[in-house]
Amino acid sequence: MFKSWLRNTTMATVLALTPLPSFAQDTPQQGGDIIVTYKDDIATLDPAIGYDWVNWSMIKSLYSRLMDYEPGTANLIPSLAETFGVSDDGLTYTFKLRKGVKFTNGREVVASDVKYSIERAVNPKTQGPGAGFFGSIKGYEDVTGGKTTTLEGIAAPDDSTVIFHLSRPDATFLHVLAINFASVVPHEAVEAAGGDFGKKPVGSGTFVLKDWTIGQHLVFERNPDYFVKNMPYIDKFTVEVGQEPLVALLRLQKGEVDIAGDGIPPAKFLEIKNSADGPKMIVDGQQLQTGYITLNTKVKPLDNLKVRQALNMAINKDRITRILNGRATAANQPLPPLMPGYDKSFTGYAYDVEKAKALLAEAGFPTGFETVLYSTNTDPQPRIAQAIQQDLAAVGVKAEVRALAQANVIAAGGTEGEAPMIWSGGMAWIADFPDPSNFYGPILGCSGAVPGGWNWSWYCNQDIDKRAVAADSMSDPAKVAERSATWGKIFTDIMADAPWIPLINERRVVAKSLRMGGADNIYIDPTRVINYDAIYVKQ
């Protein structure tokens, strides 16, 4: 029997369109053409392949998925799905599709399109980076292993029903169906594009790609047949590429550009911030990101808990936020503040040089020790590594900074006994979806503590691992809050073992013109960066 958790779509829509408190005074308006700039070309608009923070938000708007999020929040809502249900054992998910939703080529979206799209994202021939997200669907290994191209665990018994059979309970599964890799695409358009679907996208989202002139611009127009009435607000957005961030900012100040997607170059940040209209132009938002130093639990003397705790007290995190011009806040736990499960009351290890020295002496290192700190070699990471090095020196720990290319740092982190300490800046870790489990498995769980893995602390606590598995089996959507709290406790308990020094939560900066309306959290939406569906032009 299914325990149904039905939700009326109209209710969800009303919820999604409810103005957020921070912009309650000016109401969203229909209409307007805007110009957005980026430095780099748009890589691809194929949802099975695109995986950078620029194309991520465009793909979100070109396609639709079974699930989506309320704009500006991490709250899941049904999208292409009208209703869904989860079985008691958490192994079967059943979705009923909305009727009458059409791809922009005119054909109706049916259940077999959902099956096709996910199978395509998992198929190794697609070379998609997102295959691993679908690992809990039955038959996943057979597809990635090349034995077959169809996923046994997805059934489409009729045009409006999709059933997923999982091989293990996966409480993040609804989030998985909301990420870009689960976007629904029409197979005939993929086939007709002949390997170039990324340049000729067809979906059923809020916008349609009208023109793409390579190296110059992309024009997106509103999809008049989008299945939610009065969405999106703007009629059109043109993305101009190849625009230097500095030039884009000058153009924004002159009113030629509405959103400078690359933000504000560090050299100009204070000037803009202190200008008359500055505060209205800067959108400074939190992301689901944590920057941390890994302390390798398999390397001496970092295998000693007291040493790891002492190092946690040795770093002046506020100074590091100043290196980043204040575009970061100090962190004290693995989860970022926007993530469900983040514990506001947790204080972690406060900055205390004397206490750190005392702990080191207690651990048998009264005069400190020598170690190595790895970092990537692109600015500002080496500067941050140097600040860490100075802080460590203040407690007697002499760390040699090794600033290397990203791939080399990742390789060193994934080699057992190799890198004592790694500063994660420029590599890890931004959550792919707003669920706390995304911060555990690969980077703190036993499964990540393997050669080539991302658990660079080589931290493996069997007890915590068991609790993580239990938390991820809580698939009942009604228990979301309980599950988040369980996860939150797991992360603060991990800090007792101190495998990381959580350092900072970086913020993203977007610059927008004065005529653009909408709260900051739809310009830096936690699940899609710029939310083109929700932004609007003030009249």
Binding site: D40, I49, A407
Partner: protein
């Protein structure tokens, strides 16, 4: 002549093969794993391995190079890692913009360089000569990204005469072409000046003057064509120079040419695009020199006779 062209074409093929080999080896020695980069953060080791196999990166280097060469022969430059599309079509779509910019840049440097050089030669030793020579020295020495930002700030931001960035109207080409041309103009002014001074001292110029020809006619008909010869050789070489310059200029002005493509590709370690752009640039440089070699004898009978 036919023999010259044939010989040069064979040389061109050899040079391109050499360039391809060197670039290929250098790029694959880079400490970056393309499969890892394509796969993204959360990819499993298996996904990375799958991608590596699909791209043929698990093959020995020589096999990979051979496959790449076979592709080139068939006009296939491979697929971009970052943009997931055919490199040949990406480059082809951007070549017209770069050609336009280079033509405009050459026009700026030739017109500016010739004018200043002639003026300086005629006023040799005077104040004008010294000012022109000083200015050309600054033009030759100033780094292009500084010139680009300076022109952008003065003429686009402060004065608002030209658009700051982009492509499409004649106004858009002015600042990028000026940035590109200023460097060459400095060289040209200096070369034209010394060549003109040399020619103006020749017997036939004195004869022309003795015949009572106007000085304008003497300079334009008799002196200038002879002073032009080294300039024409320079233009061929300039195409190579410009291939380097367009990278900076296109990046600053948002010009949709292959320089901008190269700039992005380098930052993203998009090896197939870097390879493709390098090969196309090498081809352009070799062709530029070839054209200069073909044109020189047409203008100067002395070379033809040899």
């Amino acid at each position: 002549m036919a023999l010259l062209i044939l010989r040069r074409l064979v040389q061109t093929a050899l040079i391109l093969l050499g360039v391809a080999a060197i670039t290929f080896l250098l790029l694959y020695a880079l400490p970056a794993d393309p499969a890892r980069m394509i796969a993204g953060r959360s990819a499993t080791a298996q996904t990375v391995a799958n991608i590596r196999r699909e791209l043929g990166l698990d093959q020995p280097l020589l096999v990979q190079f051979w496959t790449y060469l076979q592709g080139i022969v068939h006009g296939d430059l491979g697929r971009s890692y970052a943009q997931k599309t055919d490199v040949g079509s990406l480059i082809a779509a951007r070549i017209p913009a770069t050609l336009l910019l280079m033509a405009a840049g050459i026009l700026v440097e030739v017109v500016l360089g010739l004018t200043l050089g002639i003026i300086a030669a005629l006023r040799r030793g005077g104040a004008v000569d010294r000012v022109v020579m000083m200015a050309s020295f600054v033009g030759v020495s100033a780094p292009q990204f500084v010139v680009a930002l300076l022109l952008l700030y003065v003429f686009a931001v402060m004065l608002g005469w030209f658009p700051m960035s982009g492509f499409g109207t004649p106004a858009h080409v002015v600042l990028p072409a000026a940035t590109l041309g200023i460097l060459g103009a400095g060289w040209y002014a200096r070369m034209v000046r010394s060549a003109m001074i040399d020619v103006l001292n020749q017997d036939y110029v004195r004869t022309a003057r003795a015949k009572g020809l106007s000085s304008a006619r003497i300079i334009l008909r008799h002196a200038l064509p002879n002073a032009m010869l080294p300039i024409i050789a320079m233009i061929g070489i300039d195409i190579g120079q410009f291939m380097g310059g367009v990278v900076v200029v296109e990046a600053v002005y948002g010009w949709p040419g292959i320089g901008q493509l190269a700039w992005q590709a380098i930052q993203q370690v998009d090896i197939p695009i870097i390879m493709g752009v390098t090969l196309v640039s090498a081809l352009a440089i070799v062709l530029g020199n070839l054209i200069a070699d073909i044109i020189a004898p047409l203008i100067d009978p002395r070379i033809r006779a040899r």
